[in-house]
Structures are given as C-alpha cells and as structure tokens.
C-alpha cells in the first residue's frame, strides 16, 4: 500500500493510456510524459505501461506501507526518502513506513512539470475499459475516477513470479539524451492539419516562428498558448469530428489550444496542426509560464522521430537486461 500524505495533491493514477474507447466518447487519458512512465517501469522490471502516480503539484508526500522497490522519473523534484536525497530518474528500495517527499521541480539542465512514481508491480486500481488511467471527466479508471487526496491508500500489484525485478540504478533523462530546442526554447514537431491552408500566410509563418507561452489555463486537458493571433482567411464553422492528443485547435479568439491527454476525443474548432505522438512527452513536461516552439515536419520526419524514441527505449531495455544478468551473476 501507498498512503497519500499531501493535502491537495492533484495527482492521479495513470498508465500508458486507454485505447479503443473513443467510440463511446472516452479519450485516452494516460501519462502526460509516457517516456518517463515507461522508463520508470523498465527500471523496475514492470510491464512498460504499468500504472504509476503522476504528480503535478508540489510538494507531494506519501508513505510506503510495505517494503518495495520504486522508481522516480519525470520532473526532478529533489526527492528525499526519510530525508535522504534520491537521485532523479532512478530506482531504489524502501522499507515499510518510509516517507517519500517530492519538492518543487528543480531548474537544472532541464526542468519538467510532472513527476512519476512507479512501484514494482504497478499501482493496483481496477481496470476500466482496458486501462487503469484516471479519466476525470466521467470519473473513469484511477482511484474512483478522481484525483488523489490526503489519506488515500493505493494497493500495489504483486510482482509476477519470474518478472525481471528491479535494478537500483538510474537513466539519463530522455530530454537530455534526445534534446530538441530552437533558439534555446523547448520545441516539438508538428504535422500540418486539415485547416492549415485556411489560415493567413502571416499566421502560418507565425506558427513556426513565434515562441508560444504556456498560460496558467493549461492542464491535462489542454495547453492554452499565448502568442500572435492566428487568423483564418475566412470564418470557419466545422462539423464535429474525432481528434487526438496533440491536435492544435484555433478557436475564434485566435489563440491556439493544444489538446493533451485528457482532451475530449472530438472537437469542432479549426485545426492548424498536430504535435506528433513522438514529441507529446516533451510538451507534457513543459511548465506553465515556459515557452515552446513548433517545428514543421512531414510524415517521414514524424515517423523518423517515432523511430528515434522507440530505438532509444529499445536500447535502454537491452542494456538493462544485460546489466540485470551481470548483477545476478555476481
């Protein structure tokens, strides 16, 4: 068991996401930084998509009520276990009763916004429509379909016999291993979407050249950006259609909104582009008040970006397996 000690945690249980329920109006939810989730689970020898706690308001405190192994990834929050500092992006073992504390995200060489606590086996909440992810709207999945609060107790999935087991080591954060910046500003790659050509040339240019500030009205549903107004050539009234996380909608006001993990699965605003799936984790970690740049890409470029992250994860998996056999040999 894990007990939440923080009063207003705004943390949720998330796994890799809920797929195949769009037909009922249910979006994917899932970790905003899937790379962090997968890395934490790999360190522990868990299934890659196992459920974890996503924390986004700090400080955040919890207590382990069992001996277990855990991994911390995502934002570096100067974590301590019973007051002893823990390195970021690493796994460790803990005794029952130990208190884990995550402080404010540190502005080091990379600043994230969301921290992930994976535990050996994974967080055990009921699977709803194929996933343990919390979908706040409709109160699906997670712990009673809601954000965690003080006093909540989360059971852990018993580790499966024969699972690889945890390694008390760390990883280089993917944001450092695969950095993507333009003029010192965090960047993500974007594929133009259906209405891209329906915006003025100046607006299309601005999409690629402006730095877009992430406003405080940004959350797991969507990031409302502030920058130059994006103007359509003529007013557009769209018919409702399916959308996915990453879609950049432009409401009538002209300030874009990037749909994120809790985004509704359909919409009716014009779409100027879509942040590619391979870069969504980068955006998911962009703190409020920071700026992002959009890099135009094409289908092949987007696939290559996906291959890069997949290959990096494959390398992590391979080296962890090797390291595991070597450690066991000792």
């Amino acid at each position: 068991m894990i007990e939440i000690l923080s009063q207003t945690a705004l943390a949720t249980v998330q796994d890799i996401g809920r797929f195949g329920a769009l037909r009922w109006g249910v979006g994917t939810a899932g970790a905003m930084d899937r790379m962090a989730l997968v890395c934490g689970n790999l360190l522990l020898g868990n299934e890659e998509g196992a459920a974890a706690i996503e924390a986004q308001v700090f400080p955040f405190e919890l207590r382990f009520d069992a001996d277990c192994a855990f991994a911390l990834t995502g934002a570096d929050c100067a974590a301590t276990l019973d007051g002893v500092p823990l390195p970021p992006w690493s796994a460790a073992k803990t005794r029952s009763g130990a208190v884990l504390r995550l402080g404010l995200p540190v502005s080091g060489k990379w600043r994230g916004a969301r921290a992930y606590l994976c535990v050996a086996g994974g967080i055990d909440v009921p699977i709803a429509l194929g996933s343990r992810s919390t979908q706040l709207r409709g109160a699906i999945g997670g712990l009673e379909g809601r954000a965690l609060k003080q006093g909540d107790r989360l059971p852990l999935v018993p580790s499966i016999a024969g699972s690889p087991g945890p390694l008390e080591i760390g990883l280089v954060p993917p944001a450092l291993a695969m950095p993507l910046e333009v003029d010192g500003c965090a960047a993500v790659r974007v594929l133009p979407a259906a209405e891209y050509d329906c915006f003025t040339q100046a607006s299309r240019d601005a999409l690629w050249s402006a730095s877009w500030k992430i406003t405080p009205q940004s959350d797991r549903y969507g990031f409302r950006l502030a920058g130059p107004n994006l103007e359509p050539l003529a007013p557009m009234e769209m018919r409702s259609h399916g959308i996915v996380p990453g879609v950049i909608q432009v409401p009538h006001g002209g300030q874009p909104i990037v749909q994120m993990c809790d985004a509704q699965p359909s919409g009716g605003y014009p779409k100027i582009g879509t942040v590619i799936e391979a870069d969504l984790w980068r955006l998911g970690q962009a703190p409020i008040g920071s700026s992002v740049r959009f890099i135009e890409t094409d289908w092949d470029g987007a696939l290559a970006a996906g291959d890069e992250t997949r290959n990096w994860l494959a390398e992590v998996r391979r080296l962890l397996d090797l390291y595991r056999t070597r450690s066991l040999g000792r």
Partner: protein
C-alpha cells in the same frame, strides 16, 4: 572476489552500446583489453598494482566500467567534494553506460578525502574512484 574475466561476454555486449572502441581493465586477477572488432587479450597474473593505504584512507574501486560522472546529468553541482562527510549508501558519483547511470554509493559513513577519477572519463573495473576515510 569477482573478476572482470567472469563477465567478458556481458561487458563486451554493454560496450557495444557505447562509442567506446577500446576498454582496458586492470585488476588483481589480471589485465583485460577489449577492442571493437578485435579479439580479447588476457594477461594472466596479478599486476601488483594493489591500492596502497595513505594515512587512514582506503581506495574506493569502481564497481564496473563506464564514464565516471561526479555530477548528475541534470545537475550543475557535483554530488560530493573532497572533505565532505557522507553517510553509508550516499551516492558519490555515477558510472554512465549508454543511457544507464550506475550509482557509486559510499561503502560506509566517512569522509571523502580525495576524488581520484576525473569527471567524464572512462574508468575500468577496479580503478580507484575516490579515497575515503571511514568513520571509526
């Protein structure tokens, strides 16, 4: 006593993950050189290169090979400086193998008297990383 010779296959596989072309390991059991595209060379017998104790300090050998890091890649400040008191288990540095960061913990409570290995350099199994004064 473990020897790198027991782990040649795994070390070679890990090495393939890096851009390291050649790795030389020296330990009590002998000397090992792994070269990319080459054959392993093994020289049997001890090297007589045992760590000597200076004053009350002991050498902290590297638990493996990798790039020695005094600073976590996310941070600006080194984990420890010479003269720092540390607790048993406290992470003093990392060995980086590709994307993996292997922590190097303090063996027991004490003082880091010297940081021998240079940040960002390749170290081999058994190379001295720190000199350490255990607390009585």
């Amino acid at each position: 006593m473990t020897s790198p010779l027991d782990h040649v296959a795994e070390i070679a596989a890990l090495l393939a993950a890096t851009d390291i072309d050649c790795l030389e390991l020296t330990g009590p059991a002998g000397h090992l050189r792994l070269r990319r595209g080459g054959e392993p060379e093994v020289t049997a017998g001890g090297t007589g290169d045992e760590p000597l104790s200076e004053d009350e300090t002991v050498a902290m050998p590297s638990p493996g090979f990798g790039i020695f890091l005094r600073v976590h890649p996310l941070h600006e400040m080194p984990l420890v400086r010479s003269g720092d008191s540390v607790a048993a288990g406290q992470v003093l540095g990392f060995l980086k193998i590709g994307p993996l960061l292997i922590p190097v913990p303090a063996p027991r409570d004490g003082v880091v008297s010297d940081i021998v290995a240079h940040d960002g350099t390749l170290v081999g199994f058994g190379d001295t990383l720190f000199r350490f004064s255990p607390q009585p």
